[in-house]
Symmetry: C2
Subunit: 632 residues, 2 copies
C-alpha cells in the first residue's frame, strides 16, 4: 500500500486524511438538503457503493437505513472469489482472509446403497480450481462484512457514516431539470417516529432489499417464479461425530431431503440449510409454522447415522426459494431516451435462492459496477449517458444468474435417482456442482460489447484475459523493490482506469506507448486528465516486462512509468513489474500473452477488461476512451 505521498503522517495508514468539505456530523447537525447520491439501505449493495463513493469527497453521498444500527448476525455469509478480488481493491481482503472460514473442499454425501437410511461420503471437490483466482472462497458473518465496509467509509476522505432510523417513504423525479431532480421523502423510524424530511438528490440508489420502496417508486416489479420449496437456515454451535463438519457439504438422504453444511468463521460455528416440505400451490411458508426444532429434527434424520448435539442456536430463519427479477434496474422505461436518475441494486431487483451463495456477492457486484460510473458522471469526467450501461450490464448478468440458480436449486432439491446411487459415474449433483464452479465463483460474468467493452479483434494477444470478463490476476515481481505480488492488486477501488502494458520481445513498443501516452495531444491521458491532477489520476499505466527484476534496466524507464505525483511531486516506484523469479509462475504463459508482440490490456475501474489492443494501436485506444470520457 502507498501512503505518505503528500508528506509523512503517523498512525493507521488505512485512515485517509479527512476532506475539509466533508459533512458536519456533530450531534444535532442538520441533515443535508441536497446530495449528489442518496443510497437507500445498508446491506452489502448499499455499503459497497457507499465505500466506493466515500473515496470522492467532492461527491456528497448520503446513505440511509430504516434500522437503528448495523445487523449483528444472520443473513448471507458467502464471499466468492470474485467478491474477494473486489474486497482486495477496497483494502479489506487481508482482514477478511484472516477472520473467515475458507471453503477449500466441498464434500458430497448420499444414501449408502447398502443401508439407504444412512449417508456415505461419495466424493470431494476442490472448491476453488487452481489458478481460477488468487483469492479463496470464504464464509463470514454478514454483519462483520458490513462493519468492514463501514470502516472503509469512515476512514475515507468523506468520513461517510450511515444515517440510521431513516426509511425511504417516496420519491419523485423531475425530468425537466438537471439540478437535483429526485425529491426523496424520508421517514424517521426512531425517536421522532413518522416525522418526514425531504431531500433532493441527483441520483438515488435503492439497495433496500426484496421489498424495495425505491423499486416500487419507479414502477418496478419482481417477477418470475415463486417456488414452493421451503428451506430452513440455521447458524449453530454444535458437536457432532460427522467427520466433514468443517467442510462445505452437500448431503442428500434417500427419504428425508437435503442438508447443505457451511462451516463458518471462528472454527466452531456452522450453518445448515435444511430442505423442509414442499408447499402447496397457494401456500406460504409462514402458514406451516416450522420451528427451529423441526429443522434440527429434519437435519438429524437426513444425517443419520451421525448425531448432532446442539449447544447454541445463534440464528435461524425459514424461507421459500424464489427466483425473481425486475425488467430494468433504473427508472427509464424501455423505449424512452433519457438518462437514468434512480437505480436499484441487489435484492431490490433480483432475488434467488441462497443455495449457490450468490445473493450477497451479486449485490455488491451490482454497485461496484455502478459506483465508478456515478463518480465519473458527478466528477464531470463522463456524460450522464454512461449511467445507462448499469441496467444494461447488470440486468443481463442477473438474468443469467436467476436462470442458473433456478436450475441449480432444482438439482439440489430433486431426490437422488437410482442412477445416482448404483453406478460408478459421478452423481448428477456433484457433476453439476463442478460445472458450476466458475459461475458460483462469480468468475463467469462477461459483459457484452458496448461503448465500455471493445470488440474481440485482438483477443489473441492475451487469450487468458478475455474482453468483458474480470481482469484475471497473476504473479509478478515489482521491479523497484523485488516484491512478489499479484498484478491485479495494483488496482484499488479508486475509480481509475488501469492500462496494463505487456512488453513484447523487445521493449521498444512499450516505451513508445508510454511516451505517446504522456505527451501526444491525442493521448487519452493527455485528453482526459486535468492540468491540476496527477498524471495518473484518471488512467493509470502499469508495465510488465519479460525480464526478471535483476535483468531489467529500471534506471531507464519512460517518465510515465516513474511519474512524480502528489503534493510533493514524489516519484512513484510502483508502476513497473517483472516476471516472477521465485517459481510462482510466468504471467505471459499463465494468461496467454503474446511474447512477440506484447499487448495492452485496458481495465475498467471495476476490474473488468474493456479492451485488448496491440501496443501501437494508438488511435484505437484514443477512440475507445473518447467514447466514454469527456475531454478536459
Amino acid at each position: 500500500m502507498q501512503f505518505y505521498k503528500d508528506g509523512f503522517r503517523g498512525g493507521n495508514p488505512d485512515i485517509k486524511t479527512a476532506a475539509p468539505n466533508r459533512r458536519d456530523r456533530q450531534d444535532n447537525a442538520p441533515l443535508p438538503e441536497k446530495v449528489d447520491v442518496l443510497i437507500v439501505g445498508t446491506g452489502p449493495a448499499g455499503l459497497c457503493l457507499a465505500a466506493q463513493l466515500a473515496q470522492f469527497p467532492d461527491i456528497s453521498t448520503m446513505i440511509v437505513e430504516a434500522s437503528p444500527s448495523n445487523i449483528v448476525k444472520g443473513k448471507a455469509d458467502g464471499l466468492n472469489t470474485r467478491t474477494m478480488e473486489m474486497l482486495q481493491a477496497f483494502g479489506i481482503a487481508d482482514t477478511v482472509k484472516r477472520e473467515t472460514y475458507w471453503v477449500n473442499q466441498t464434500s458430497f454425501w448420499m444414501p449408502d446403497a447398502d443401508q439407504p437410511d444412512t449417508i456415505k461420503r461419495i466424493g470431494r471437490v476442490q472448491d476453488v480450481t487452481d489458478d481460477s483466482s488468487e483469492m479463496p472462497h470464504t464464509l463470514i458473518n454478514q454483519a462483520r462484512l458490513h462493519q468492514l465496509f463501514l470502516d472503509v467509509m469512515d476512514n475515507a476522505p468523506a468520513r461517510l457514516v450511515p444515517d440510521y432510523n431513516l426509511a425511504l417513504k417516496d420519491l419523485s423525479i423531475d425530468t425537466s431539470t438537471e439540478d437535483h431532480p429526485v425529491t426523496v421523502t424520508l421517514e424517521d423510524t426512531g425517536v421522532n417516529w413518522g416525522e418526514t424530511t425531504t431531500i433532493r438528490a441527483n441520483y438515488v440508489v435503492g439497495c433496500d432489499g426484496a421489498r424495495s420502496k425505491t423499486r416500487k417508486a419507479i414502477g418496478g416489479k419482481l417477477m418470475g417464479d415463486a417456488a414452493h420449496q421451503a428451506w430452513g437456515v440455521m447458524d449453530i454451535l454444535a458437536n457432532t461425530d460427522f467427520p466433514d463438519i468443517r467442510q462445505k457439504c452437500l448431503i442428500t438422504s434417500a427419504n428425508h431431503g437435503n442438508v447443505l453444511i457451511l462451516p463458518r468463521e471462528g472454527g466452531y460455528l456452522f450453518r445448515m440449510y435444511v430442505e423442509l416440505d414442499k408447499l402447496g400451490d397457494d401456500e406460504r411458508v409462514s402458514e406451516r409454522g416450522f420451528s427451529q426444532d423441526d429443522m434440527i429434527a429434519t437435519a438429524k434424520r437426513i444425517m443419520n447415522p451421525y448425531t448432532i448435539d446442539v449447544k447454541e442456536v445463534v440464528w435461524w430463519s425459514i424461507y421459500e426459494i424464489g427466483h425473481r427479477m425486475t425488467d430494468r434496474f433504473d427508472d427509464v422505461d424501455k423505449g424512452l431516451d433519457r438518462d437514468p436518475r434512480v437505480f436499484t441494486a441487489g435484492d431490490a431487483c433480483h432475488t434467488h435462492s441462497p443455495k449457490a451463495g450468490q445473493g450477497m456477492n451479486v449485490s455488491m457486484q451490482d454497485t461496484f459496477n455502478l459506483g465508478w460510473k456515478l463518480a465519473h458522471v458527478l466528477q464531470g469526467r463522463a456524460k450522464a449517458s454512461l449511467l445507462r450501461s448499469y441496467s444494461a450490464e447488470r440486468w443481463a448478468e442477473a438474468k443469467r444468474l436467476v436462470d442458473t440458480d433456478h436450475e441449480w436449486a432444482r438439482i439440489m432439491s430433486a431426490p437422488p435417482g437410482t442412477s445416482d446411487l448404483d453406478n460408478g459415474d459421478e452423481p448428477r449433483f456433484m457433476r453439476a456442482f463442478k460445472e458450476n464452479l466458475e459461475f458460483t465463483g462469480g468468475l463467469a460474468v462477461q459483459y457484452d460489447e458496448s461503448a465500455l467493452i471493445g470488440p474481440p479483434t485482438h483477443q489473441a494477444l492475451a487469450t487468458g484475459e478475455e474482453i468483458g470478463r474480470r481482469f484475471h490476476s497473476a504473479p509478478v515481481v515489482r521491479a523497484a523493490d523485488a516484491m512478489q505480488m499479484q498484478l491485479g492488486h495494483a488496482a484499488e477501488a479508486d475509480g481509475r482506469w488501469r492500462l496494463y502494458a505487456f512488453a513484447g520481445k523487445d521493449d521498444t513498443a512499450l516505451r513508445n506507448l508510454a511516451n505517446w501516452l504522456e505527451k501526444d495531444p491525442n493521448s487519452p491521458v493527455v485528453k482526459h486528465t486535468g492540468s491540476d491532477e496527477d498524471i495518473d489520476a484518471v488512467i493509470d499505466l502499469r508495465a510488465v516486462f519479460q525480464k526478471t527484476f535483476d535483468q531489467l534496466d529500471y534506471e531507464n524507464m519512460p517518465p510515465l512509468l516513474k511519474p512524480q505525483t502528489g503534493k510533493l511531486g514524489l516519484i512513484d516506484f510502483e508502476k513497473v513489474f517483472c516476471l516472477d523469479h521465485k517459481g510462482a509462475g510466468d504471467i505471459y504463459d499463465m494468461r496467454g500473452i503474446d511474447r512477440e508482440a506484447g499487448c495492452l490490456i485496458v481495465v475498467r475501474p471495476d476490474q473488468y477488461i474493456a479492451h485488448v489492443l496491440p501496443l501501437d494501436h494508438y488511435d484505437d485506444l484514443a477512440t475507445f476512451f473518447a467514447g466514454i470520457l469527456l475531454p478536459v
Copy 2:
C-alpha cells in the same frame, strides 16, 4: 483464528471478551496500590511484555511511561523474520505484512574502479534465504508497531492501557517477604509534575532504555566499548535517480564513508544511515554540532553520481555507536541464591549499533522470553525459580549479539580495501552480510541445555528442528477443513506449551501417546492441568500425520485430538494436520523428521524448542515437565 468458543458474539474477533476483574479505568479512578507486575517503559520491550501479560486477567499488570503518549515517528524500524514469527503469535503479523516495506533484496554498491569518485552496483543478495522463515523481513515506523501492541493490550481480557506521565523514581526490594516485595516510587511527569506515588509490586521489569533507572536501582551498569564513530540517521521523502532506492542498500564510497539505505513503509519514505566523522578519544558526538544538512551533504557525496532531491525530512538524529551491556538482567548478584524480583530488558541492559537492525528485535525477544515465565509463576504453575532462567538465557544471547554487532559495525565502517575493488571475489562486506543473514534474521538464537532445554539425545529424529532454537514452521494442511497453513501458526502468544507429535510409519505410537497424555496419572497434561481448566489449557497437543487430508481417517482420532473445551464444551477441530497436497512442501522432508519413528517436539510458550523425544518416551516427557511445572 478461533472464536465463538464460549458462544456467539458479534463484532471484531480480535477484541476479546473483557474480564470482570479488570482495573477500573474511568477518569480519576485511583492508581492501584499493589500490582503483580509493574513494567517501566512503553518501548518495544515493555509493550511486548504488556501485550503478553494482558492475556491473563488474573495477573494485575501496570505499565508506566514517563512520556505523555506514544511516540509519533523515529527510532527503530526493522522487524526481522524471527520477530515477525512472534508477531504472528500475537495476531498482528498480517497487519504488519500489509503495511510494511518488505526487504526482499539487499543491494551492494562500491566505488567504480574506473571512476573511484562514483559508485557502482556490485551485486545483490536475497535478504531472506529460501525457507529460512515463512515470514518476510519488514520495515515499519516504530510508532506504528507500538500502536499495534497497544491495540493487542487494549483488546485483551485485561484491557490494559499504559499509565502515561509516570516515571520510575526509585525502587527497593524487601527480600524478607513474598507479598509484593518491590516498593516502587513513581513520579508524575504531567500536570502534577513531581508528585510521587508508591506502588508495591511482585515483579518489576525495567524496559526504560539505555538510561534505565530500573537498572541503576538494582546496581546494574552498561559496560563495554564506547565507540568513536558518529552516525546520522534520517527518514526522508526525496526524489533520486539512484535506481535501487526501493531496495536495502549498503553503499561504500572511496573517500566519503558509507550510507545504508532502508526503504520504508508506504512506497515513498526511506531511511538513510550516514557515516559521519570519527570522533576523538574523549569527544562526544554532541560536541560536533552536526546538522541535518551535513548529513544530506555527506550522503550526496557518497552517492555520487546520483542525486538526491529532499522534499521532506521526517525525522533525523545523530548518535555514536556503542556496544555495551550489564553483567546481569535481574536484581540477583552472582553467587546469591534467591529468586529475582526485578528485571531489565532491551536497551536497559544491552545497547548496540542500529546497523544490523537488532536493537528493537532483541528487546522484544527479551520480554517474550520473560512474559510466559512471569505468567507461569504468578498463576502458580511454576516455582519462582523459573525466573532465574531469564537472565541466564538472555544475557548469553545479548553477549553474542553485542560481539557480532561489534564485528559487523567494524566491517561496515572500514574503508573498502584495494582487494575489495579490483578482483573478482565477493567484497568482504557482501560476504559478511551473507554469512550474517541467519543472525540478523534473529534465527541463530540457541539457548543452552537447562531445566527448560532438554539434551540433544534424540535430535536425530528431527534434524531441522534443533533443540534450543525457535520452532521452524513448515507448511501443513489442517485435516478438518483442508486448510493450507503453517504449522507454527498453531501457536499463539497465550502462555501455553505446544507438543507437536509427528506420526511415524504407522499412527499407533502417536495414538498411544495421545491416549496416555489424556489419561495416565503420570502424564504432564493430567498432572499440570487444573480440573476446572480446559484439557489443553497448559499443554496443547497437535498431531501431524504422513497422509494427505483425504487419506486420513479423521473420524477416528483419539479424544485428545478432538477435545471438547470452553464453556459449551465444543469440539476443537484444529488439532490435527496432514501433509500438504498442493506443492507447498513435505514437512517431514523439510524439517528432517524421521519417517519411520516419528517424534514429539516440545515447544515452549515463546516458540523455542525445549525437547525432541521419541513418541513413546513417556517418562522423559513427564520428567521434563515435572522439572518446570508444579503438580495441580
